[in-house]
């Protein structure tokens, strides 16, 4: 059984008991415990079920590499799935539970999958779901959806807050082990600004647990004095519980700081995402131990040897009373010795190597521990807990020599440097055959903006498993980093570390060497995704030679741990199956983040109203208080209509249209883009920007203009007013102001930079209010201040003046076909002017109207709307707008594009009006017209589509516009628009101008 030892545990405070809840049970631990160590102290080795076969699984590791012990923690708004028990610190009242089982962890129905495992080989999904096609939807998908996934997604809104930090430093040191501390100290003492981050709660890495001495003293003393020296340096920042999550181009690095996770619900942000620019990144991220591949290596109680040692040293927890150690390297002996020194029983150390001449094996033998060389574990016996192992020869096929009773197995297959941060941005690796590891190739680092390497791997992460070499390397990395960012570090020798001399390890990828298929099919590589040695072999047999393909086919390394434990072992098995060398098979790509980070931290403050701030016109609040029914228009909000009392939206729109046509309407048009184009070459420039001739526009006059992309496609439209000889004001669509301003600037800055033109986007400087309808003039005359008569201010002109005491510029332009003034006033006067209009208009029946009324009225007049009649593939000629395309101009943007054969094809669909045969039937938006003929593939031939469609209360008739094949030549013809319900709506092709073609209503 696993239990708390009488003494020991450097990270826990035995005076502070913590009560927490796990799977509904109340359990106790100590301050400083992780969920994993506390559960082990309560003899809870079984911590989860595997993803595919639902096999019982225990904790394997003691750090972020843990694949099995994933928990749901917290409740409701603080619930979070898939938290590693090994990195989750317990706090008073923590609620947690295990995952991926039903009905309970102890008894899980899904475990039947393990009995069926021979029917779920590698590539099972690919093979099974090929056919028949109906089976996916009706059989497989429902089952998979029910059983897939690890934790459950949260159902409540996250109650915590998160924040970003931005930092610019010379040197980031990722990892606070002895190499990282030394690197930070060396670089810091040289004067560089340093940010040191350590993912764990404390500094020092493995040095303390592994009994390293530095300068003749225990590592702990050196770590303490080094931390004190670092704290004295004002240019050094240090953070624990902060992980370097990812390295990106040009020295960009994400740091993930967990501020309150260890305290439970607290005030202030829970996590902080640091967005860092570093000139140099020193990655001192240590190494991760590899499992060994023997049958039953996933049974709860089989753990990494280093983790077994950590639980003893860090948490005072024994994982078992009788622990067999199996190792292919000397480091594993440290665990045996630690167990022995803790008073626990080690029945045997099983080592596949022949000569055991290192200091550690000698010490173990001297302590009286039985050591078996050239040996292997045949298989582990047990179900929910290890019961025994069988001893066999490593060279053989696994014949049992002896059965050894035990309740835990500590395994060590050697160590893999954590090269993730080195590799994220393209750093390359070399295979070191002697130590069986990929280590950073210093000649091929990830390159920064200046073409030099910006990541420096150091210590164990650089392949130095020996403490003395690691510390020396850390010092060298600090020197290099400081020098490369422009400092001159003093010449000083690295402190001298010492640990036991270790003999060479022996790469062992299969245990025993000739393990049978039966054994291999119980030998797990990837615990979380249940990938076995037999699966990788099968993939190789089926022709998957690329490691990237094998990964996807078998799902090896694709779980939430991203193969931290399994990748090298899987790679070795693949290489062996292909009879190739490991470096020739290569590694899969390391992608950030190193370890999962929360979505909350990525979002930071960008949620709710800050997610995408909205733009508000000066009248926004009034509209909100007066029945405005909001709709988003680009980043703006505009009222779709103004609802009165219990009126429906449809009724409101109808009322607004009829009132505007009969009396007077008031529209907030402030969202329209207003770009000033000024300079001696402004006219010449606008002649290029617009399809029309703008340079001939008279001062005081307005002209409707079209803008096209260089491809010829219609991009925006609006009215241009000439304010003076050198100044134009260009109106754009509401959604287009920023885009069109940028478009103008692009051409001015990158093509015609010698033209004397200046642009300014003044959209928000003005409130623009349209007074529309037969009574519009009366309203303005009542306000008084300037002559707005037909003679003084004819159609398509504007004037600067004053209305009701407010500086105003009325434009006589109309998007409704009515007598209409669009009046620009300073934004700060917008609401005042609006109020005046409402007051003055009372006797003339004035009512505000929204965007839908605007849309219907413009459609009644056959005016196009960018985004309705256009979709990025439509040219002005398609819309019958040839009158707005200058034939005199030598050139304009889009002219050449519109001359291409496809654009001049007479079969392009053209704009027409569509009048439904049944006046009450409105054609659905986006409906297509068909002519009854079929294509080879059994689909209808389409001959047109609807672009705008409404019921017109003015005409008491359904109206639409659409693009139709040869449309303008087919006036009077009736075409069919099939609808989704199966009904076909018939519509007659007609002129798109449904109302007042002569313009009698507006030209008054």
């Amino acid at each position: 059984m696993s239990t708390r030892l009488q003494s020991g545990g450097r990270l826990i405070d035995r005076t502070k008991q913590i009560e927490f809840n796990w799977n509904g049970k109340r359990l106790n631990g100590f301050q400083g415990d992780t969920l994993a160590s506390a559960l082990l102290a309560n003899d809870q080795m079984l911590m989860g079920r595997s993803f595919k076969y639902h096999r019982p699984r225990g904790v394997v590791a003691a750090g972020p590499e843990e694949p099995n012990a994933l928990m749901g923690t917290g409740e409701d708004g603080r619930f979070e799935p898939n938290q590693r028990a090994t990195t989750t610190e317990i706090y008073q009242g923590l609620k947690s539970h295990s995952q991926n089982h039903w009905p309970s962890l102890e008894f899980d129905v899904g475990a039947i999958n393990t009995k069926l495992s021979r029917f779920f080989p590698a590539g099972f999904y690919y093979k099974t779901f090929m056919a028949p096609s109906f089976a996916w939807k009706h059989v497989f998908e429902p089952i998979i959806r029910k059983s897939a996934g690890l934790g459950k997604a949260p159902t409540h809104k996250d109650e915590d807050s998160y924040e970003y930090f931005y930092a610019h430093v010379d040197v980031v040191v990722a990892g606070g082990g002895i190499a990282g501390l030394q690197a930070a100290l060396t670089a810091g003492q040289a004067g560089a600004t340093v940010l040191l981050m350590e993912q764990a709660v404390d500094y020092g890495g493995r040095a303390i647990t592994d009994g390293v001495t530095i300068g003749g003293k225990p590592a702990a003393a050196w770590i303490k004095s080094t931390l004190a020296a670092l704290k004295k340096l004002p240019n050094v920042q240090m953070r624990t519980r902060m992980m370097a999550a990812g390295v990106y181009d040009h020295g960009y690095l994400l740091g993930y700081e967990r501020l309150t996770d260890h305290m439970g619900p607290s005030d202030g942000p829970r996590q902080r995402l640091w967005r860092i620019r570093a000139k140099r990144i020193v990655t001192a991220t240590g190494a991760i131990e590899r499992p060994l591949s023997f049958a039953g290596n996933d049974i709860p109680g089989v753990m990494l040897a280093g983790a077994v040692r950590d639980y003893i040293a860090d948490y005072g927890v024994s994982v078992g009373d009788r622990t067999v150690v199996v190792t292919n390297n000397d480091d594993g002996y440290r665990t045996a010795i630690a167990l022995h020194e803790a008073g626990l029983n080690v029945p045997c150390i099983i080592d596949p190597r022949g000569d055991l001449d290192g200091e550690l094996p000698a010490k173990a033998i001297a302590l009286g521990i039985r050591v078996e060389n050239k040996s292997a574990i045949g298989k582990v016996k047990g179900g929910k807990r290890v019961e025994a192992v069988t001893l066999c020869a490593q060279a053989g096929e696994g014949a049992t020599l002896e059965e050894i009773k035990c309740d835990a197995v500590a395994m060590s297959g050697g160590w893999s440097p954590v090269v993730h941060l080195w590799s994220h941005c393209g750093g390359k690796l070399n295979w070191d055959a002697d130590t069986a590891m990929f280590r950073p190739d210093p000649a091929r680092p990830p390159l920064g903006a200046d073409g030099t390497g910006f990541v420096i791997a150091t210590g164990t992460a650089n392949g130095h498993l020996d403490a003395a070499a690691a510390l020396k390397d850390g010092h060298a990395a600090g020197m290099t980093a400081a020098k490369e960012v422009g400092y001159k570090p003093a010449r000083a020798a690295a402190p001298l570390a010492a640990s036991e001399r270790e003999a060479a390890m022996m790469p062992v990828w299969s245990m025993p060497q000739g393990a049978s298929y039966e054994l291999k099919s119980k030998t797990f590589l990837d615990y979380q995704n249940d990938v076995k040695v037999s699966d990788v072999r099968l993939a190789a047999q089926e022709g998957y030679e690329s490691v990237e393909h094998t990964k996807r086919y078998t799902t090896l390394g694709m779980a939430t741990d991203q193969g931290k434990l399994s990748n090298i072992n899987g790679l070795a098995v693949l290489a062996d199956s292909l009879n190739a060398d490991i470096p020739n098979v290569g590694t899969t790509t390391f992608r950030p983040p190193y370890h999962p980070i929360s979505l909350g931290s990525i979002a930071g403050d960008a949620h709710n109203e800050l997610f995408k701030p909205i733009r508000k016109t000066p009248m926004h609040q009034w509209i909100d208080e007066n029945g405005g029914d909001w709709e988003p228009v680009a980043d703006w909000r505009r009222p779709y209509c103004y609802k009165q009392g219990s009126e429906s939206v449809e009724d409101a729109v109808t009322r607004e249209i009829l009132n505007t046509r009969e009396n007077c309407g008031l529209l907030d048009a402030s969202t329209l883009g207003k770009i000033i184009v000024k300079g001696p070459d402004a006219g010449k420039f606008l002649d290029m920007m617009y399809t029309n001739m703008m340079s001939t526009l008279k001062v005081g006059h307005c002209r409707y203009g079209l803008m096209c992309s260089e491809n010829g496609f219609l991009s925006d439209d609006g009215v241009v007013a000439r304010l003076d000889e050198n100044t134009f004001l260009c109106h754009t669509t509401s959604g287009g102001s920023d885009r069109i301003h940028a478009h103008m600037e692009e051409w001015l800055q990158t093509e015609w930079w010698d033209w004397k033109v200046y642009t300014a986007n003044t959209t928000e400087q003005y409130a623009q209010i349209a007074v529309v309808g037969p009574n519009a003039r009366k309203v303005l005359e009542k306000l008084g201040g300037m002559d707005v008569s037909a003679e003084a201010l004819p159609f398509m002109t504007f004037k600067d003046g004053e209305l009701g005491g407010i500086k105003a510029r009325p434009y006589r332009i109309s998007f409704s076909g009515e007598l209409s003034y669009e009046i620009a006033v300073p934004a700060s006067q917008g609401q005042a002017f609006w109020d005046m209009c409402m007051e003055a208009g009372k006797e003339f029946g004035i009512q505000p109207y929204g965007t839908e009324c605007l849309h219907v009225m413009r459609a009644e007049k056959g005016f196009i709307m960018i985004g309705d009649e256009t979709d990025g593939t439509v040219i002005p000629q398609d819309l019958g707008l040839n009158w707005a395309i200058s034939k005199k101009k030598e050139d304009f943007l889009g002219k050449r594009g519109q001359q291409r054969s496809h654009m001049t094809d007479p079969n392009r669909w053209k704009l027409v009006g569509l009048k439904t045969v049944d006046p009450a039937k409105v054609i659905p938006d986006g409906a297509y017209a068909v002519d009854g003929t079929m294509r080879e593939n059994g689909m209808h031939n389409m001959i047109g589509r609807v672009t705008s469609t409404y019921f017109s209360p003015t005409l008491n008739h359904s109206i639409a516009m659409g693009l139709v094949l040869n449309g303008p030549d087919r006036m009077g013809e009736v075409i069919d628009f099939p609808t989704i319900g199966g009904e076909s709506i018939k519509a007659e092709i007609c002129d798109p101008v449904f109302l007042d073609k002569e313009g009698a209503r507006q030209n008054v």
Partner: protein
């Protein structure tokens, strides 16, 4: 995430402040151009593995366009310069040649 120095305002700008504008030094062929010239102008891009001259806009900064010479493989930035030019500055070309002896040179 790239870091480019905006030659207009002098700031080292994060990629999130910038908008990419594709290949630089494209010659505009407008009205009257042959089909081939127009096609080249509109659609043909070099897309090299290596030295590339490209357009960027400091969209969330000073708003100005500038040009950058960058290696598309290693992301090394050789330099940034004004967009108001028909070809890269000589000094920059020499600098790139020095760093990349095999480079074919600037071809318009």
């Amino acid at each position: 995430m790239l870091l480019l120095n905006c030659p207009c305002c002098g700031i080292d700008a994060d990629e999130t402040e910038l908008e990419a504008g594709g290949e630089a030094h494209i010659t505009r062929h407008g009205a009257g151009a042959s089909d081939d010239d127009f096609e080249t102008y509109m659609f043909m891009r070099k897309n090299p593995k290596g030295v590339h001259f490209e357009r960027w806009r400091h969209a969330y900064g000073c708003g100005k366009w500038f040009h950058a010479a960058r290696c598309t493989m290693t992301l090394e930035v050789f330099g940034t310069y004004s967009a108001q030019t028909l070809e890269p500055p000589k000094a920059l070309i020499n600098k790139i040649k020095k760093k990349r002896p095999d480079w074919e040179g600037f071809v318009k």
